[in-house]
Amino acid sequence: MKADADTASTTAGVGEFLRLPPFGRKFGAWAEYIVIPALALLASLVLFGIFVALFGKNPLDLYFFMYQGAFGTWFSWQNTLTRAAPLILTALCTALPAQLGMVIIGGEGALLIGALCATSAALALPAAPPLVVDVAMAFAGMIGGGLWIMLSGALRQYRGVNETISSLLLVYIALAVLNFLVEGPMRDPTSLNKPSTPEIGAANMIGSIPGTDVHWGLAFGIIAAVLSYILIYHTVFGFAARVAGGNIRAAKVVGLSVGKLILIICFLAGAAAGLAGMMEVAAVQGRTNANLAAGYGFAGILVAFLARQNPLAVIPVAVLLGGIGASGGLLQRRLGLPDASVLVLEGTIFVMVLASDSLYGRLGIFKGKS
């Protein structure tokens, strides 16, 4: 199989249907992937400025406060990065299966199941040293979340169920499972008005990255994104996945085991979201309760699409959305805008980036080198 894959990679054309070429290919194409999204972002900021001006607010104030709230001070940076941390991991839950042409939108479910599994692992090891507990929590969270999304992959592979629908519906099942366990068998009897599991213990909490308030989830997210990028663009396995994503029949003809690819990629995707859930428990909440269903999984879908499903691009996009979230508070407080205005901006960016897809390959300045 390796020989096949290597031969295929040298033939022209195979790379054409892949969204992003690996590093080192045409510089022009790379510039295109930076300039076009930047233009889309700029256009959405202008549109949002007009929208805000219609409500009698000064757009320059808007841009200033957005900058200040997201990146203007060291505190603002930490605020932004804290919000970005879970989004990198949940975005991978959508971006990885996208390489196979699958649209998985159930990262929220994997996050919740990951959090539950991680909490269970910690509660099952009351006497173990913190490092052991944290490693066990991470593995439990990744395995739980991984199996959850793998279920969607298996349903698609063996039963022909649409993975988008099944992964979304599994979110509601995950939420129901979480509520059932938290309000029933796993409930800490002293959690009166906020049904929660018992706490994992202060000693087991994962602290912040030294010198910051940002928890380690950010570092794990970046590592996971880089590993995913290497896996997809620099390994035979990743190449096989992209071939299957481009043309599933061709992949079968050359003898790729598509079913195995689907299951493994879905597992890795779910594991990323499950790790996000574990970090929410181990670094933020200290236990599992309904607070965990904060929509990180759904925000991750937006990040993945804005990053055009590229695992590396997920990192800056997550930081950008984290920044919008961080500055949203300042917009409310200084300009008196409602919270929904931030959603208007996110929606505008989303539409502009998707619409800008049609510009790729059509702007003359990026052509001529290939």
Binding site: A53, L54, G56, K57, N58, P59, L60, Y63, F64, Y67, Q68, G69, F71, G72, T73, W74, F75, S76, Q78, N79, T82, R83, N179, E183, G184, L192, N193, K194, P195, D213, H215, E280, V284, Q285, G286, N289, A290, N291, L292, A294, G295, G325, A326, G329, L330, Q332, R333, P338, D339, A340
Partner: protein
């Protein structure tokens, strides 16, 4: 819109702040004022829980020397920690009110430890000696107002069936359901209250379904304990049923069908706290109160409330306000037949047993699990 404001100076200011942002924290600009931060879990105009708090914040805005900063729809994750820090770092807030239950532990506690000189006040939490001294929790015995509303509901119902749309079977909610039912039984001992739990605080579709389902079963007076009672109130009125409100006065949504309601009175409590804070007096770490302390109130009666109902309700309200009335007085039996408050036992409002309530009383149709 005002283009004249976009002057060269402003652009220069912006540029300067862009470059010096890290070096120049913006606090101190309003040194003479006390800045108070309010954080809401939902939207400020939800006709419910968050609007009640926003009304309290609005009362503070009228006080001289006080500046209020607000942020809505903040989730109960580390986002609320960052919102608090942002209010402290960028707005100079020194007193913070994170108003949702899930903000308390670990988020507000963490911030109180990080900023020991600032004050944090939480709605609904149970502050204990182990918690930081610069943190506090306050709450109201709103079951007193529910009890009075129950009396009105009991007199108003023709079918003898009341309906209660509730979020989760937790102590605060169960206490409201039981107090409401005990009130209704004062009017008519045969009245029953059918409860439907929707499972979460803001589930408009399920709340509408529950309201319709209850009315289809013959319920003619409804009330609720969810974050935004708008759905229940409007749907009940549309279906021709009567309704008792919750959190704030919802009579504008159903002028005819609105009987009365149990409301928060944060517009009295927050200025009280602000005065203590600005005068250097310590706000008690654990603060509770009901009608007597003006932390809760009862909505004015609607047009359909009978004179008889008003008379009895006013009588009980007066006794509660005077502080010589106990709602949970034994013998009380739950709806499974177990005695939960023995004969001769009076559980007054401050009784910690009531904070752990896990049962539905006789007369309530429904189950906690």
């Amino acid at each position: 819109m005002t283009f004249d404001k976009i002057s060269r100076r402003r652009v220069l200011q912006g540029t300067a702040a862009l470059t010096l942002g890290t070096a120049l924290p913006l606090r101190g600009a309003m040194a003479a004022e006390t800045t108070i931060g309010f954080i809401y879990v939902g939207s400020r105009d939800d006709y419910g829980y968050n609007q009640a708090h926003a009304a309290g914040a609005a009362a503070l805005k009228k006080m001289p020397g006080i500046k209020v900063v607000e942020e809505e729809k903040v989730p109960e994750t580390d986002a609320v920690e960052k919102t608090m820090e942002s209010m402290i770092n960028l707005d100079g807030a020194t007193l913070l009110f994170p108003t949702s239950f899930g903000y308390y532990n670990p988020h507000m506690i963490k911030m109180a430890l990080k900023f020991p000189k600032l004050r944090f006040e939480h709605c609904g939490g149970l502050w204990s000696d182990k918690d930081p001294k610069n943190a506090g929790s306050y709450f109201g015995y709103i079951d007193e107002a529910q009890h009075v509303a129950g009396i009105v509901a009991g007199y108003s119902t023709k079918s003898g069936k009341l309906g209660f749309v509730a979020a989760k079977p937790i102590p605060q909610v169960l206490r409201n359901i039981n107090a409401f039912t005990l009130g209704a039984k004062l009017a008519n001992p045969k009245v029953t209250t059918q409860v439907i739990f929707t499972g979460d605080w803001s589930m408009p579709v399920k709340e509408a379904e529950a309201t319709n389902g209850l009315i289809d079963q013959g319920v003619d007076v409804l009330t609720c304990h969810v974050d935004g009672p708008k759905t229940v109130v409007e749907n009940a009125a549309r279906r021709g049923a009567m309704v008792c409100g919750y959190h704030v006065n919802q009579s504008v949504l159903a002028p005819q069908a609105y009987l009365t309601g149990a409301e928060w009175n944060w517009e009295v409590l927050y200025p009280r706290f602000a005065k203590m804070f600005t005068s250097g007096e310590t706000i008690p770490n654990f603060y509770r109160g009901g009608l007597k302390e003006e932390i809760v109130k009862v909505s004015p009666y609607g047009p359909m409330v009978s004179e008889e109902a008003k008379k009895k309700a006013d009588e009980v309200k007066a006794a509660l306000t005077a502080g010589n009335y106990v709602i949970f007085k034994g013998p009380l039996v739950d709806n499974k037949g177990n005695t939960v408050v023995a004969s001769g036992v009076s559980r007054g409002q401050t009784d910690p047993e009531l904070e752990k309530m896990s049962y539905l009383l006789d007369g309530v149709i429904g189950a906690t699990s």
